[in-house]
């Protein structure tokens, strides 16, 4: 069955540090990949998505992700995090008509 793995469960950073959150997917065919963010007390929001074309995807709030087909990876990056980036981050893959999510990574950013 298709699955998504996020190996970083909890990440703690200081402001201005660089961020990279790992995401690996299992499906070997055509993939559509997503990163969602959930700020405390809020709903899941889309950060960015990959469907085809340029494997480096730019999203909102300075986030980007790189699709590396040979590694089955879609890691999320941000060069300089802010305290307001404190949230839970979920990687997801489309499987037919639905999304399959990873277990999430909790990011805490300290001033």
């Amino acid at each position: 069955a298709q699955s998504v793995s996020q190996h970083n469960h909890h990440v703690i950073l200081s402001e201005a540090a660089s961020l990279e959150l790992g995401c690996n997917y299992s499906y070997g065919g055509t993939v559509n990949l997503f990163w969602y963010v959930q700020y405390p007390g809020q709903h899941l929001q889309l950060l960015l998505k990959y469907f085809s074309g340029d494997p480096l995807v730019k999203g909102i709030k300075g986030f980007e992700a790189e699709f590396i087909k040979s590694k089955f990876s879609f890691n999320l990056r941000k060069p300089s995090v802010q305290w307001s980036d404190t949230a839970e981050y979920f990687c997801a893959s489309r499987n037919t008509d639905k999304l399959i999510f990873g277990t999430g990574t909790r990011l805490q950013v300290f001033p």
Binding site: Y36, L44, L46, K49, S52, R94, D97, L99, T103, G104
Partner: protein, 118 residues
């Protein structure tokens, strides 16, 4: 409305009680999804509607779980004879078109209903 709306936001049920959770998707959205999110976990797929048709219910954990979307808009997730393991946040999402085969279609999520079974 402006987004996906779910009610109630919080629900406490005694074990064995039946509950009904409501989802109002974004107006005009064809696809509607229900997910279950246990504490510390990612959302797990429950079921999917395209308009009023329930096309995928492979994620429903037991026959105690039932979902409907009779007019192709509002949806209700019903859980009969609730058990403690049903405690979770239930998320609803909608998309304007089916996710399959159409690029740049995204799913919008509601804030969820937190169900606690005591």
């Amino acid at each position: 409305g402006a987004g996906v709306s779910q009610s109630p936001r919080y629900k406490v049920a005694k074990r064995g009680q039946d509950v009904a959770l409501r989802c109002d998707p974004i107006s005009g959205h064809v696809s509607l999804f229900w997910y279950q999110q246990a504490l510390g976990q990612g959302p797990e797929f429950l079921t999917y509607f395209q308009n009023e048709a329930q096309l995928d219910k492979s994620g429903l954990p037991s026959d105690r779980f039932f979902a409907e979307r009779p007019e192709g808009s509002v949806s209700t997730l019903k859980i009969q004879r609730t058990q403690q393991e049903d405690s979770a946040v239930y998320l609803c999402a909608s998309s304007i078109l089916p996710l399959q085969g159409v690029s740049n279609t995204e799913a919008f999520f509601g804030q969820g209903t937190r169900l606690t079974v005591v």
